[in-house]
């Protein structure tokens, strides 16, 4: 090898190494970024998902389960944030419950990172920011931006086609890593199926009455700004939707979970446990295929000229203007919807009431911002601090 050839190879390899090291550090950081959670007054204990299914214990998906036990007995409600970790309003709304809520009657169980693995990577080709920051009175709080699918570092390889268990329905192969396509899971399945199975075990053992899965959707997706409900929750969901539309300043519809569409929480949790399963969708223009510059700002403000243009051409299932869809609006929709479910459930089931206080509703979240309801990490005692 000539000296010139050698020098050329060294230069090229050094550039590759620089790319590898720089990107590698960034990937490592976002996979390991710890998100603090201040345990609010209502949190009575923090359990692990692995306690319900040993195969999940100690894994990346052994997520925290925040138990908020009421002073008086009643019903049990499960709130799942982070089924899809690229939908931050779902996680943040659940966060506001853990850091602010108090339960007077019944019990609330909250997961902030239902598919924790999915929150440790960003989508290939998606150009997502690795993280985002919410300003709070006590300083900025940083959160991981995640993906829709389990990290391939935790589940690899994908099959040539994903055949859902137990229905046998064929789905896109990548969706074998999509928690909201693998319900009800199976004990000897893939990592994501085991995660779903662990949640099903928890739902059955803790006798959950209502399970709520928090999501966000692109505006081009027809299932948006709505509550998708299992057939056993139809009355509850319809009433919640009516109450919210009448009493709060936003519209939310109701859709029934299709009987033949399998793998989704609104179908399978209801089919495989006594719980009523509901799924909420809030608008997230960041997920739209027509979105413009992919940035933290777009993620949090939901402002996007391109998506607005698509809306003007009648291509969207939700309205959008230059005000966008700020994160506070999306989080507020979710908090109000959850609180309304608890209220309507209690009216319909007086023997199993759910009474929650301290969690801000839609108008209050918009007025003060999400950050106003994230507590000061530095002032929380060690025993009142958890990490996601």
């Amino acid at each position: 090898m000539t000296t010139r050839l050698l020098a050329q190879k060294i230069v090229v390899a050094a550039l590759g190494l620089a790319l590898f090291v720089s990107a590698g550090i960034s990937f490592h950081r976002s996979r390991n970024l710890a998100e603090p959670v201040v345990l609010g007054p209502g949190v009575t204990s923090v359990k692990k998902l692995g306690e319900y299914f040993a195969a999940i214990r100690g894994t990346v998906n052994d997520c925290n389960l925040y138990f908020m036990e009421g002073r008086e007995p009643g019903g049990t409600m499960l709130v799942l944030g982070g089924s899809h970790a690229e939908e931050p309003a779902g996680r943040l709304a659940a966060w506001l419950f853990v850091e602010n809520g108090t339960v007077e009657k019944g019990r609330v169980i909250v997961a902030l990172s239902a598919n924790r693995s999915a929150s440790t990577m960003t989508r290939l080709g998606g150009a997502y920011p690795p993280d985002f920051t919410i300003d709070t009175p006590s300083g900025p709080r940083m959160f991981r931006m995640g993906d829709r699918w389990t990290n391939p570092l935790d589940q690899w390889p994908d099959p040539e086609v994903f055949i859902h268990y137990p229905s046998g329905q064929e789905l896109a192969y990548v969706d074998i890593r999509n928690l909201n396509r693998t319900w009800p899971g199976r004990p000897n399945g893939t990592f994501t199926e085991k995660t779903a199975f662990a949640f099903m075990e928890m739902i059955r053992r803790e006798k959950v009455d209502v399970a709520i899965d928090l999501h966000e959707a692109e505006l081009q997706y027809p299932v948006i700004s709505t509550i998708v409900t299992h057939q056993r929750g139809q009355e509850l969901a319809t009433m919640v939707s009516m109450m919210l539309t009448d009493n709060e300043d936003f519209k939310i519809g109701t859709e029934f979970s299709p009987l033949t569409l399998h793998g989704l929480s609104h179908r399978e949790i209801g089919d495989h446990s006594p719980a009523i399963s509901l799924l909420f969708e809030a608008p997230e223009p960041f997920l739209d295929a027509t979105r413009g510059i992919t940035s933290r700002e777009q993620l949090l403000t939901g402002k996007d000229e391109f998506v607005v243009k698509a809306g003007r051409h009648g291509l969207l299932f939700e309205e959008i203007d230059e005000k966008g869809w700020p994160i506070a609006v999306r989080v507020g929709r979710h908090t109000s919807s959850i609180l309304q479910v608890a209220e309507t459930w209690s009216e319909d089931n007086p023997a199993k009431p759910l009474a929650i206080s301290g969690v801000p509703r839609y108008a209050e979240v918009i007025e003060k911002g999400v950050g106003a309801f994230l507590q000061d990490v530095t002032k929380a005692g060690k025993d009142r601090l958890a990490y996601e």
Partner: protein, 430 residues
């Protein structure tokens, strides 16, 4: 500055850098890489290492499929298996041109249909078929076109059609009901293609051909050739038949198992490491194109250039969309390859859905047209691979012209499927 202006500047810069790079005689892959870096710089993102590496990782699994499938084929070739099969086909069927064309079409449709990748058809059966076509008196450019167009159709054919799957996933629609809307047109168009390109030719001169063909090593037999394929298809079958009682193996490992079987069954001792090294050498342009296409999509998404393309596409009047599908789909495929499904397919399906069309049949029709772009620059990835595998040494344009008539047939079928999707909805069986 409005987002439209900003993304427009980025897009124009990327185009200019690409053209400039090509003028400076850089390869397509380096041109695309330069365009991506240029776009990131002009978009104000500097040199975003994280995004470059993340984009580069997009097609890692597909790269693994290409490596293992090609290794399998190369081992089979070196063992003399290919020569054995070519001789056998010629000896048995050379008297009936119709039967030869029908059998060869099916042989071409199967691997891509099962794997979703046209390149797998080219690699697994394309080279075998090309040799047979040669001795049927079909000129190399036409033989390459026949293999390529059938490879395209094989990729679109069910059960695995990646464009349909990726787009369906992008609009949260289950991948169900696609089997007949994909299979029927693929089969019809495949046979039409083979007869259009392969009907004319000389009478198959089996004796002369056999004299020219290499003689396989002693001990080569059908079992040694077919067993590795049986391993591959057996694993695919197992995964589909018993999805919940067998481990998930994935296509790369299935091909690796077939390659290993081929290695063990070879009557001559094969130099495994040398063949592997040469496989990587042979595949470098393909692997690099996929890697760089991932980087390009990532930077286009980051800078809003992807959104600008998508929003422009979906806000055109529906009649214009129908009339330009023949251009938009292959062109998007040529630039983004499978990335075209999330970038262009998702907004188009949403547009069609909003306009009351049947999204499944419409998407099946689009899936038929998309892969034709695999012959077009800048990537031209499957087209180049086909030309290389078939051994056509002439101008690339000559190969493209040979593809034209079958491509028009496919485009007409695909476009009509979109326009009349509502009426064809019964095909989905839903």
């Amino acid at each position: 500055m409005s987002m439209f202006t900003q993304a427009g500047i980025v897009l124009a810069t990327m185009l200019a850098v690409y053209v400039a790079a090509r003028l400076f005689r850089l390869s397509t892959e380096l041109g695309m890489l330069a365009a991506a870096i240029g776009g990131a710089l002009v978009g104000g993102f500097g040199l975003p290492a994280r995004h470059i590496a993340e984009g580069a990782a997009t097609y890692l699994d597909i790269n693994l499929i290409f490596v293992t499938a090609t290794l399998f084929m190369n081992l089979l070739k070196e063992s003399g298996g290919v020569a054995f099969v070519v001789r056998a086909i010629l000896q048995r069927f050379h008297r009936s041109r119709v039967l030869m064309l029908v059998l060869l079409t099916i042989l071409l449709l199967v691997p891509g249909a099962l794997t979703g990748a046209g390149s797998v058809t080219v690699l697994v059966t394309g080279s075998l078929v090309a040799v047979v076509l040669h001795y049927m008196g079909i000129p190399k450019h036409k033989a390459a076109a026949l293999v390529f167009v059938n490879a395209c159709l094989s990729a679109a054919a069910p059960p695995v059609s990646l464009w349909a799957m990726m787009t369906a996933a992008g609009v949260n629609m289950p991948y169900v009901g696609f089997f007949w809307p994909l299979l029927l047109p693929c089969l019809a168009a495949g046979l039409l293609t083979s007869f259009i390109l392969g009907w004319k030719g000389e009478r198959t001169d089996a004796i002369k051909a056999l004299a020219e063909l290499p003689v396989p090593p002693a001990g080569m037999n059908w079992l040694r050739v077919l067993l590795p394929f049986a391993v591959f298809f057996g694993l695919v079958w197992m995964g589909r038949q018993f999805p919940h009682s067998t481990p998930i193996i994935g296509l790369p490992m299935m091909f690796a198992a077939a390659a290993f079987a081929s290695y063990l069954l070879s009557p001559v001792r094969l130099e495994f490491f040398r063949i592997s090294r040469e496989t990587i050498d042979q595949l470098l342009p393909l692997l690099a194109t996929l890697t760089v296409a991932g980087i390009l999509v990532q930077i286009m998404t980051l800078t809003g250039a992807r959104g600008l393309l998508a929003v422009t596409a979906v806000t055109l009047p529906v009649a214009v969309v129908y009339a330009t599908l023949f251009l938009v789909l292959p062109a998007s495929e040529a630039v983004l390859m499978w990335g075209a499904a999330p970038v262009i397919g998702v907004p188009l399906v949403l547009l069609f859905n909003a306009r009351g069309l049947d999204p499944i049949v419409a998407l099946a029709g689009m899936s038929l047209i998309w892969p034709l772009g695999d012959a077009l620059p800048p990537t031209a990835i499957i087209g180049r691979l086909t030309v290389e595998i078939v051994g056509f040494k002439g101008a690339y344009g000559r190969f493209l012209r040979a593809c034209l008539v079958p491509a028009i047939v496919i485009i007409v079928i695909g476009t009509l499927m979109v326009i009349y999707s509502k009426k064809l909805g019964f095909l989905t069986g839903l």
